[in-house]
């Protein structure tokens, strides 16, 4: 019965990690199995990377010796030149990432939000505290699938029942940290993983971290029993991810039944990308299956770039009365950790490598966030443009409606004919007496005086036009947004139609404009003698004529059709005006009145468009995010290069 198989050589190709004693490169390549066939209690297996990735591949030591950390290959302390540069850069990045918002529902937004939260958590939980105390105890996070035996393994390693094991899945719901009593003050201080409440009691709350002091564990090394990564309990998965991001060394536990599951492999790839030092435990291997499974898992590890990670194989056994694995199964693993704990230099190397890897992994992560932020800005611009295009069209329709004089037809024209036909224009221009007569007439006939009716007609025509174009523009803007994934998420039902108070506002607009025109006439005609002669009432009628002229300013020379349908009467209006004001003054008046009207229409339509655009305000506030992120990322990367955390960066290729 095979007891345990150890595949040594820790983790990363360029790692300066615990290597077997007397570590000399011996040029072994590929996977070798050194068996002690019959007495065989231990099968050290070594995988080497290729030459490029594993300079000075560690030797394989047949026999009963677990890998021993090599003090000679520890790293130097970070560059003393810029002691505060890296923390300052990280703090800057923390602020930039914390400020980044991804409000638009783009496909990239949800992952970006998650990544940003993960990055913030990693900075708070691990990078900043770890950088502040490089000599703090090494944290080994034991993670893996539910039912893999993580808790049992931790219990067996520290030889105490610190974490509850059981048959119900998932068993562990809140993390348990085991360390030597000497180290407990550091973990209790809450610099590391500040979001988790420290407790001394077992807890079911995922926001707590149970601290257990185990004298059997050597100082300088701590185990964290993490919840599973793949059970139905969502909180577990989130917490496990957070804990893995805070690990100096990740001890990944899988089983013979699970080693090909898709979920853990995703995490392993993440760890690989993040540069975390990883060791694997293949647990619960059935009797006689060790060779085949180990070989297959080795292939899979190599294919995923983890070929150099140490692999420990534990057989399926029956736990003893204490819930511990038999001593002979965990002995290689415990020895390996024991040597790591004993060797401050090797520990330091692991810490530095994971830290450097995590810092190096920040750059692509931040670049991803910046790209997502770019997408937000681009999408916001596209949405903005769709709304503006819709309302530009609306504005153009109104402008054309005014320019080609066609508004004059129909009701306005009828009223104008009535007005001119009664000769009232001349009368009101001539004398105040007209006013009195109008009043009497209106009182007797019960009808409003023609002047008032004419204004009403213009009003209703303009209001209908404005309502029509606003409704159309709202619909176009709505359609444009609905076709855009981010736009569709911003839409609410009331955005399909113009705002409820549009009619009221359009009516106000027209009335204000009419008052403006009258004021304009008053000012324009101020020095004309006739104004002195006539009175404010005459201004009224003149103003009306200007309004008509605005709608018909192309009709200086009426077309045949317009003559036929009666638009020629505008010529009469023009003639009257020109007689009073002079040709140039009329043109000026009409132009200014029209410009005034268009200004007001623009303001009205802008108000309508703002109902859409205000929903983009949140994104517009983030316009500077991509640059800020890239800048902060580059600063961290620069500081990391200068800090030279690992020997690889310092020494280059190991001789």
């Amino acid at each position: 019965m095979p007891a345990a198989i150890v595949k040594s050589d820790l983790s990363h190709p360029d790692a300066t990690l615990p290597t077997p004693a007397g570590g000399e490169a011996n040029g072994h390549r590929g996977r070798q199995l050194f068996g002690l066939p019959d007495s065989g209690t231990l099968y050290p297996v070594t995988t080497h990377g290729d030459d490029a990735s594993a300079p000075g591949a560690p030797p394989v030591v047949p026999g009963n010796h677990p890998p021993v950390p090599n003090p000679g290959r520890t790293a130097t302390t970070p560059g003393k030149g810029q002691p505060a540069e890296l923390p300052a850069a990280l703090t800057g990045l923390r602020a930039a990432v914390g400020a980044a918002r991804f409000p638009l529902a783009l496909p990239s937004a949800e992952p970006a939000r998650r990544d940003a939260a993960g990055l913030t958590a990693q900075l708070d939980d691990y990078l900043l505290p770890r950088l502040a105390r490089l000599d703090a105890p090494l944290l080994v996070v034991v993670g893996g699938s539910t039912g893999a035996g993580k808790s049992t393994l931790v219990n067996s390693l520290v030889q105490a029942r610190v974490s509850a094991a059981g048959v119900l899945r998932p068993t562990t719901r809140s993390p348990v940290l085991v360390c030597n009593p000497a180290d407990s003050s550091w973990f209790r201080s809450g610099d590391l993983l500040p979001g988790l409440t420290r407790t001394g009691e077992p807890s079911e709350d995922p926001r707590t971290l149970q601290l257990v002091a185990a004298p059997a564990l050597r100082p300088g090394l701590a185990f964290l029993d993490a919840p599973d990564i793949d059970s139905v309990v969502d909180a577990n998965r989130a917490l496990a991810g957070q804990l893995l991001a805070a690990a100096d060394l990740w001890l990944f536990v899988t089983t013979a039944a699970r080693y090909a599951d898709a979920v853990p492999w995703e995490l392993l790839r993440t760890a690989r990308a993040r540069g975390t030092v990883t060791a694997l435990v293949l647990d619960r291997v059935p009797t006689g299956a060790a060779d085949e499974i180990t070989a297959h898992l080795g292939e899979m590890l190599t294919a995923n770039g983890l070929g150099t990670a140490p692999l420990f194989v534990l057989p399926e056994t029956v736990v003893d009365g204490q819930g511990m694995l038999p001593e002979w199964t965990v002995a290689p693993l415990r020895d390996w950790f024991g040597q790591l704990a004993a060797d401050a230099g090797a520990r330091d190397a692991v810490v530095r490598q994971t830290l450097d890897g995590a810092l190096a992994a920040l750059q692509p992560a931040v670049a991803g966030l910046a790209a997502a932020a770019d997408e937000q800005v681009t999408a916001a611009e596209a949405l903005d443009e769709r709304v503006r295009a819709a309302y530009r069209n609306a504005h153009r329709t109104v402008e054309q409606g005014l320019r080609d004089g066609r508004l004059l037809r129909g009701e306005v024209l009828a009223r104008w004919q009535e007005y001119v036909g009664t000769g009232e224009l001349f009368r009101t221009l001539e004398a105040r007496i007209g006013r009195l007569r109008d009043r009497v007439l209106a009182a007797v006939s019960g009808r409003p005086a023609p002047a008032a009716e004419l204004r009403t007609a213009i009003e209703s025509q303009l209001v209908t036009l404005l309502r029509g174009v606003a409704a159309e523009a709202a619909e176009h803007a709505h359609t444009g947004w609905r076709a855009h994934p981010a736009g569709a998420a911003l839409l609410t039902p009331e955005l399909t139609r113009p705002s409820a108070e549009l009619t009221e506002r359009a009516e106000r607009l027209v009335r204000d404009w009419q008052r403006g025109v009258l004021e304009l006439v008053r000012i324009e005609g101020g020095d004309k003698r006739f104004v002195a002669r006539t009175a404010a009432y005459a201004v009224n009628a003149t103003g009306l004529a200007v309004m008509i002229a605005v709608f018909a300013s192309t009709a200086f020379i009426p077309t045949g059709l317009e003559v036929a349908t009666g638009a020629g009467t505008t010529v009469a209006a023009q003639a009257v005006l020109q007689a009073v004001f002079g040709d140039q003054a009329v043109r000026t008046l009409a132009t200014r009145a029209r410009a005034d009207l268009l200004d007001r229409v623009t303001a009205l339509l802008d108000g309508e468009a703002a109902r859409y655009l205000e929903r983009l305000a949140e994104v517009e506030a983030t316009t500077g995010t991509p640059e800020a992120l890239r800048e902060a990322g580059a600063r961290v990367e620069g500081a990391r290069t200068r800090a030279r955390l690992t020997t690889a960066a310092v020494e280059g290729v190991d001789p």
Partner: protein, 561 residues
């Protein structure tokens, strides 16, 4: 364990049997729903329904004497071991290397011939089909006659192709036995991606906790209870939950008994499809959630629409022109003949719009109706039509669930581009009532001629008198009326009567012209409203009726009895 068995019995027997005809009726209702909503609902919402209709048709056409049972589960849960144990033969390779099984294996109890087509449809390769001929066995295998047992690949390993294959096969089988083990029974992928999707298929779902031999016997009830709790959370309360161990034939006796009952019942295929219909109906219900309205566009929106269309079509202008034309023509017909000709010099207001005012001749109705010269609509009038059409759509679509209001709006607009031409044709083709001269015009006209001729006769008489006198001939004695000689009376009276008739007729013409204008307006309004009905309201009502039909069809599909 007895309570587990009891629950299982409830699940399998408590449900009344599913009638194949009822199922067909429900499937037809789903098909009808799809037909009526075609084009109105987004395709991606209907994919499952389309798949169901197609799949159910195929399954029901194939052997109903066979029951297809699939063993599904995570990698390493012991599906293949269980498969082999049930078959009592080593058919599917078992191993420690994960994932072991990459393609589905099938075992048929009874002759293979009857199941070949079914297996072709399911897509199991011939070399992975095995036969369990009961003739060679003891009688205990005959109870499983008609069973097709499938060993599926895993769905949670790094091999994504396995998962796709499982997803495909799970849609085709009649009963699914979910195989979980003590290590993996709480995995997220098992519950969230699979078990939860089968909550409407409770009567064709069996969950098996395999490898119980690896658990301490004392712990088994706790694990089973925990698994039961998870299943309840998944919405699978009441499904049979069995504990098995493939290493021991005795430990799979319960599963075998369950399968025997299922096979004997010949109900699994129908139950599965019935569950599918339930799932589809549940997914579609929100699309037709609201009560259909009266299915009518209300009168107020119709009136607004007709008015806006009337303005665009130039109805007021045409009606005004009709009034003018009446006056013009009436004056021409009844005016004083002496000055009547002057009228001809002035244009006829209706002809200026290229309208005749008469009904198009019968034989010409098929021919091309010439376009009118009614002035083009203004921007305002167009806006008014847009607003009116929108109002119709909005009223009709109020309260309907999500994609329908948009469909109603689209339908209301569907023929908006044809509206201007249709309106123009309608105006050109409407009888404005000026086709025939009224009788009284002719009477008055005749009277005018009569009095004019009378005056002329008087004139001639007088002229003749003068001529006789000028020639020195004795003039004839003119008869006198009172003191006035008759010829003078005829002349003056005729002239005076002509003017008098013209003056007297004028208010009548004005009144009649007004009436003609109003009549023309009424006819134009009716015609234009008809255009609105045809081009805007009818398409909207079609959508509304489709909605009502779809709702009825879905209600029918939801009825389980």
């Amino acid at each position: 364990m007895s309570n587990v068995v009891g629950r299982m019995r409830d699940a399998l027997r408590g449900e009344h049997r599913i009638d194949a005809d009822t199922l067909l009726t429900r499937l037809n209702a789903v098909r009808r729903f799809l037909d009526t909503t075609d084009g109105y609902l987004p395709d991606e919402r209907l994919v499952t329904a389309h798949t169901l209709v197609e799949r159910a048709g195929s399954r029901l056409a194939l052997s109903r004497d066979h029951t297809v049972v699939a063993l599904a589960g995570s990698t390493g849960s012991g599906k293949s071991s269980l498969f082999n144990a049930l078959a009592r033969l080593d058919l599917s390779p078992v191993g420690v290397r994960r994932p072991t099984t990459g393609v589905a294996h099938a075992c048929v109890w009874g002759p293979l011939a009857g199941a070949t087509k079914l297996l072709d449809w399911i897509g199991v390769l011939p070399r992975h089909r095995f036969v369990r001929e009961s003739a060679l066995d003891a009688d205990d295998e005959s109870a499983l006659h008609g069973l097709i047992l499938l060993d599926l690949p895993d769905f949670d390993s790094v091999q994504r192709s396995h998962r796709l294959e499982v997803d495909r096969l799970l849609g085709l089988v009649d009963l699914v036995v979910w195989v979980v083990d003590p290590q993996k029974y709480a995995d997220r992928v098992v519950h969230e991606s699979y078990l939860r999707q089968f909550r409407r298929h409770r009567d064709v779902t069996v969950v098996v906790l395999n490898q119980v031999d690896r658990l301490p016997p004392a712990e088994l009830p706790r694990v089973l209870a925990d698994l039961r709790r998870l299943l309840d959370t998944d919405g699978l309360d009441g499904v049979p939950l069995l504990a098995t161990a493939a290493v021991d034939q005795a430990a799979i006796g319960e599963l075998r008994a369950t399968l025997e009952r299922t096979v004997a019942g010949r109900q699994a295929a129908l139950r599965r499809l019935s569950g599918d219909v339930d799932t589809v109906v549940a997914g579609l219900t929100e699309l037709v959630a609201a009560e259909p309205g009266a299915g009518e566009v209300d009168r107020e929106s119709r009136r607004t629409l007709a008015a806006a269309l009337g303005d665009v079509a130039g109805v007021p202008a045409v009606a005004g022109a009709t009034e003018e034309a009446y006056r013009h023509r009436a004056a021409g017909a009844t005016g004083w003949p002496v000055v009547r000709g002057w009228r001809r010099l002035r244009p006829d207001p209706l002809r200026r719009l290229h309208l005749t005012g008469a009904a198009p001749a019968e034989e010409e109705s098929e021919s091309l109706v010439a376009a009118t010269s009614v002035p083009d609509p203004t921007a305002t009038q167009r806006s008014a039509v847009g607003l009116a059409v929108r109002a119709v759509a909005e009223r009709a679509g109020t309260g309907l669930p999500a994609p329908w209001p948009a469909a109603v709006t689209a339908a209301a607009r569907s023929r908006q581009a044809d509206l201007p031409d249709a309106l123009d044709r309608t105006v050109a083709g409407t009888d404005l009532g000026l086709g025939r001269q009224p009788v009284w015009w002719r009477l008055v006209g005749g009277l005018q001629w009569l009095v004019t001729l009378t005056a002329l006769a008087g004139l001639l008489w007088l002229v003749a008198g003068y001529a006789l006198r000028a020639l020195g001939l004795p003039p004839p004695d003119n008869p006198t009326v009172g003191v006035v000689p008759l010829p003078t009376l005829l002349l003056l009276g005729g002239l005076l009567a002509g003017v008098l008739v013209a003056v007297l007729v004028k208010p009548v013409i004005r009144w009649a012209a007004g009436r003609a204008g109003r009549r023309a307006r009424k006819r134009l309004d009716a015609a234009v409203a008809g255009v609105g009905e045809e081009y805007v309201v009818t398409p909207v009502q079609e959508v509304l009726s489709c909605y009502a039909q779809a709702r009825t069809a879905l209600a029918e599909a939801a009825a389980r009895n």
